[in-house]
């Protein structure tokens, strides 16, 4: 069953602007991960944040996690045309379960 729900479904911004995508989930989690998928390609792992962490950074990416609200956000700063892709959040509980993915946010960065 689908766990994560990204918001917005689609986002269009100008190069240099920041992009924020949100993910809400339903049940308790062990960790939450963000992935990027370029058109016609496989998914690429971006960042993993554990349930006891609140914020994580990786280059131009910043991820926050609020377990009380069952939500996470992905911020991409100073966006580039190459950031154009679909972004997915994925979660797993503490059991023996594979990642469950949301529907994704389609980001378009216009040069």
């Amino acid at each position: 069953s689908q766990q994560g729900e990204e918001d917005p479904q689609a986002l269009s911004i100008q190069e240099g602007e920041n992009a924020t995508m949100n993910c809400s989930y339903k049940t308790s989690i062990n960790n939450l991960q963000w992935y990027r998928q370029n058109s016609g390609r496989g998914l690429v792992h971006l960042i993993l944040i554990r349930s006891n962490e609140r914020e994580k950074h990786s280059g131009r990416l910043r991820v926050t996690l609020d377990t009380s609200k069952k939500s996470s956000s992905l911020l991409i700063t100073a966006s580039r045309a190459a950031d154009t892709a679909s972004y997915f959040c994925a979660t797993t509980d503490s059991g023996n379960t594979p990642l469950v993915f949301g529907k994704g946010t389609r980001l378009s960065v216009i040069a």
Binding site: Y35, G42, V44, S86, T92, T97, P98, F101, K103, G104
Partner: protein, 114 residues
């Protein structure tokens, strides 16, 4: 030096045929997965294998049969293909069982059933 490789990349076949998709990873990961991505980009887990043993088998028709000859390979065989099987199938692997580590995905196999 591709980490997770799938073949073929594209597969067009007629209804009723049987086809296989192969997946290999050279990362030394213990766990491998098959996901199906539909036309709306929704990704759904199909199977999960840890060290050649089936862990997860989601509600998938028994026309789909995974086979793992060793922990570096996880192939997917599909019998009696139906129009609804058309999708992109992704193989993935991870270092640790379940989701406690990032997954490495293959580039996908686009299956079209006509």
């Amino acid at each position: 030096d591709t980490a997770v490789s799938q073949t073929p990349k594209y597969l067009v076949t007629q209804m009723g045929n049987d086809k296989s998709i192969k997946c290999e990873q050279n990362l030394g990961h213990d766990t491998m997965y098959w996901y199906k991505q539909d036309s709306k980009k929704f990704l759904k887990i199909m199977f999960s294998y840890n060290n050649k043993e089936l862990i997860i088998n989601e509600t998938v028709p028994n026309r789909f049969s995974p086979k793992s000859p060793d922990k570096a390979h996880l192939n997917l065989h599909i019998n009696s293909l139906e129009l609804g099987d058309s999708a992109v199938y992704f193989c993935a692997s991870s270092q640790v069982k379940s989701g406690n580590a990032g997954y490495t995905f293959g580039s996908g196999t686009r299956l079209t059933v006509v």
